[in-house]
């Protein structure tokens, strides 16, 4: 594959990813949470108990910013902050049952909406896309 073609794939992959996530973001409205809060909650639910520093790093935000977002999630009873006994400087942030339910029980609205879009494809296309996703996962690592 030529250099120009690789550039073409990169540019199109970039803009298609942006468009996809933008389209799916519209599904977030029903959650009652802002984008940063929903994203942080999602990480906590999926990745289990995490420290504040790890969560901030994962969300590409500075610790003070994340500390406030966690405040808001704690206020709503979606996550808890527990002092780590082994090192009482740090905290374990974990989802409450309500927090998990809001995300998972909420049907994972974005994934659900995406499934709807995939249903419009031909089966062979879904298969080709599945293969592309496998490769994309390595690229995005």
């Amino acid at each position: 594959m030529g250099e120009g073609q690789t550039r073409d794939v990169a540019a199109r992959l970039h803009s298609a990813s942006i468009r996809l996530l933008r389209a799916l973001r519209r599904e977030d409205d029903g959650s009652g949470l802002s984008a940063p809060r929903l994203s942080a909650l999602s990480y906590v639910v999926v990745e289990g108990p995490v420290s504040l520093a790890e969560l901030a790093e994962a969300e590409q935000v500075r610790p003070p910013t994340m500390s406030r977002i966690v405040d808001a999630l704690v206020d709503r009873g979606l996550v808890t902050r527990v002092v780590e006994p082994r090192d009482r400087r740090s905290v374990r942030i974990m989802a409450t049952a309500e927090g998990s339910q809001l995300l998972l029980g909420g049907g994972e609205r974005r994934v659900h909406a995406l499934i709807g879009r995939l249903h419009k494809l031909a089966d062979s296309e879904r298969r080709a896309l599945a293969r592309g996703v496998e490769i994309l996962e390595r690229v995005a690592r």
Copy 2:
């Protein structure tokens, strides 16, 4: 392809897209612009002169929010606001030479970084990914 497999593709596509854009976002630091400003500038550069309403719609933001972002870009000399003669209520927002250069001349850092990642793939993988991107473009439409 079964229902469960479709869900699997959807969930993985979703999270791979998030990870990809997060990784690429790190490239934005050198631009000296915040994410919303860079994204708005990018749309203006690529899509030519646009109205404020169109730009706000494209960026999924309300008009007052976009009006302020445009203020900041105008202050830095990256875009201009010109009253549309045919309908003097609306404005044409267009990139200045400096604005275009910042984005394009800057090498389109994100795309450039992505090309680097694609180079690590085998040629057959790049081809499969290219096919997947074509389908993704339809899904994200």
